[in-house]
Symmetry: C3
Subunit: 158 residues, 3 copies
């Protein structure tokens, strides 16, 4: 395991070249990678809540209806999936053309928004607005910022 | 903001090393990144059309049926999601093992196909064929080309 | 085509620098890239089975119900999509912070599990357990391992 070997390395000593030779991630990529994993853990929690609601109400696959609690859990999971397909690529493109730390900070707001969305939607779908907005706003900023970032870097590099 | 600093750089002067130290994307990655953002903007437009149809026909969450216009908008968005999960990774793997410009050109055909698909499906689901095919064909080429590209590069590098 | 040029290169001679100048993928990335393509081919097969079931039973878009065989095919495809959004990013983050070969091996178990899931679910949804577990277990390991890998690399690099 290369990690065991690289652990004692003096902080900052490791160059981009060494990192690549060991097959490790660029340092700047650790920020969007960390936020990606957090967002996927929220999604994983959504999936487990959905599976539990299916079992609790005895709804057999492939049925996707049968009890309001299950249907809400299924929509929470489905909506997270719909958001993740935009969020993850936008987070990375923004982070690599604008700024990894700003990208990660926006990503953490997304993660927080999705937790609020999941809890509030499960209790009452009508209350999903705040969490939805808190999840959608950083995604829009990451996507539009990523577009601007790609164009600016392209122009700068000719 | 590093971009402000890097903007005045003489075109072509920036090396891969400088780019990494500033945390920027490799130049070759700008092509698939640009097309990824365009495809996500089409999806975003699909999501907004779906939300508007839900509101217009007073269909309360978590219902996924209730009016043909909403159901069409939901399928357009759902189908785009189903395509994006293949398209985005295939675009990147093709671009990084075969050719970024060819990958981006195929990706632009996908984006065009999905716009035609969205407009024609919304007017009449039976007319979705052309747009669907124009979206699916480049995706298949990117996926099969990506498989060939990975194998060729692996063989070439031993 | 750069691949034609790079093919005769003596194995191992190509450095990371040359690879980047030609726009090629880092060698370590070929392992998760290969597994990503395989997983997408399984999904593609799921999509085609779903389209065929829709046609066979004359179910017109945008309907998502109408015959058990079609509904099962739709859930198989939908479930694969739900898994891929976690699997693909987790596979790459694990591979680039822990180990590409271990990541790829776990990914191959996922691919095998999803093939078993697809076949068994299509014959009888109640038999989907083994394939589902065989797909989900490596995904959980990749995701949790990716989280640990990001944190360890961050700590090691200060």
């Amino acid at each position: 395991m290369r990690l065991a070997v690289s652990m004692p390395a003096i902080a900052g000593e490791k160059t981009a070249k060494h990192r690549r030779e060991e097959g490790l991630m660029e340092h700047r990529d650790l920020f969007p990678a960390f936020v990606t994993v957090l967002a996927l853990l929220v999604y994983f929690w959504n999936m487990m809540a959905c599976g539990r609601a299916r079992a609790r109400h005895g709804i057999l696959a492939p049925a996707t209806t049968g009890h309001p609690e299950f249907e809400r859990a299924l929509r929470i999971q489905g909506n997270m999936l719909e958001q993740l397909i935009v969020f993850i690529p936008a987070l990375w493109i923004f982070s690599l053309t604008i700024q990894p730390l700003v990208g990660a900070a926006l990503g953490l707001i997304f993660v927080l928004g999705r937790i609020i969305y999941s809890v509030s939607y499960a209790s009452d779908p009508a209350k999903r607005g705040l969490g939805y907005g808190l999840g959608a706003l950083p995604t829009v900023i990451l996507l539009v910022g990523g577009l601007v970032g790609v164009i600016l870097q392209f122009v700068a590099e000719g």
